[in-house]
Symmetry: C2
Subunit: 198 residues, 2 copies
Amino acid sequence: MAQRDTLTPQDWIKAAFRLLTSTGPTAIRVDLLCRELGVTKGSFYWHFADLAALRAQMVAHWRRVATSDVIAAMTSAELAPRELFIRLFETVLSQPARDYGGAMAEAAIRHWAAGDEAVQAVVREADTERLAFLTLQLRGAGLSGPEARSRAALLLATLIGLEQLTGEPALPRLDIPGFVDAMLTPARMVDATGGAFA
Amino acid sequence: MAQRDTLTPQDWIKAAFRLLTSTGPTAIRVDLLCRELGVTKGSFYWHFADLAALRAQMVAHWRRVATSDVIAAMTSAELAPRELFIRLFETVLSQPARDYGGAMAEAAIRHWAAGDEAVQAVVREADTERLAFLTLQLRGAGLSGPEARSRAALLLATLIGLEQLTGEPALPRLDIPGFVDAMLTPARMVDATGGAFA
């Protein structure tokens, strides 16, 4: 019997992220969620029409916190591109929200997307939004269109990879400002032979 | 009853990677492997003492092909650092071995490592070996020790992230030589204010 309890939809979404990152997308099941939260199935159906509704809210949550919110925060701070990129790296390197799967959430979502078209569509939307934002900033820093697009993709790759390396004990002290400066320098200024887009 | 069949240990390892990347580490089970390969459990125990033995061989395989073999190939080609890094990116961007989980194998192994200390130990060994190799190349290109270590970690992050983005339709044409040139340029040459290690 469905009954009101003290759990919020966010509690269910957090529990589902724990199952996703600890086991994988196949673990996002009503019975395992109820066991995780110590409640009956009725409690689940009080908050969600079905499992698909919970899954959609998980992906929407990830889409918001890992992309839209980050872009909004960076934009509202009205930073110059160099400072913006440095802050972006600091955001990724600072301990990510443990409640929602932590540093492995991005990899877990991408893994999930490989086997689920609805999730993949959201991941592609997020990547497209991220690439457009990074490209815009690199254009603002003076890079040409093709070079800004290329560097944006490489910066996105670096951020995704770095998040997965955050727990790595062998990770050395990082010179993020130096890396950002290198990324903002057109290839023609560091490569006498001319880069692919020179 | 255990009986000889035409499967090799590599067939079992490939099947286990398919289960790992499609579902997650909890799917690496004898019954699911036998269903995947259409054989009885006796066949599994012909090749492996137990599941732990198969898991150890999976991780050892990944350790070899994703790190040791790559470093050996790069080293034997006797390339200058710039050409070596360009070839390293080309290797990652070319379609990775589908037989062993393809582009998601690295993320799947890292996800597995988060919940399994034996796997985590191997991932850390691999990361340490990769960072040492990349640092050595960057030192050879003239970067100082701390800067070479920092850039090595950022290059490793870029390679890990890029592998996960290979299937992304929004990924633009990449100027890898231009990116490598930027990575090989000391921060003091692109940053008049001096990088963290200048």
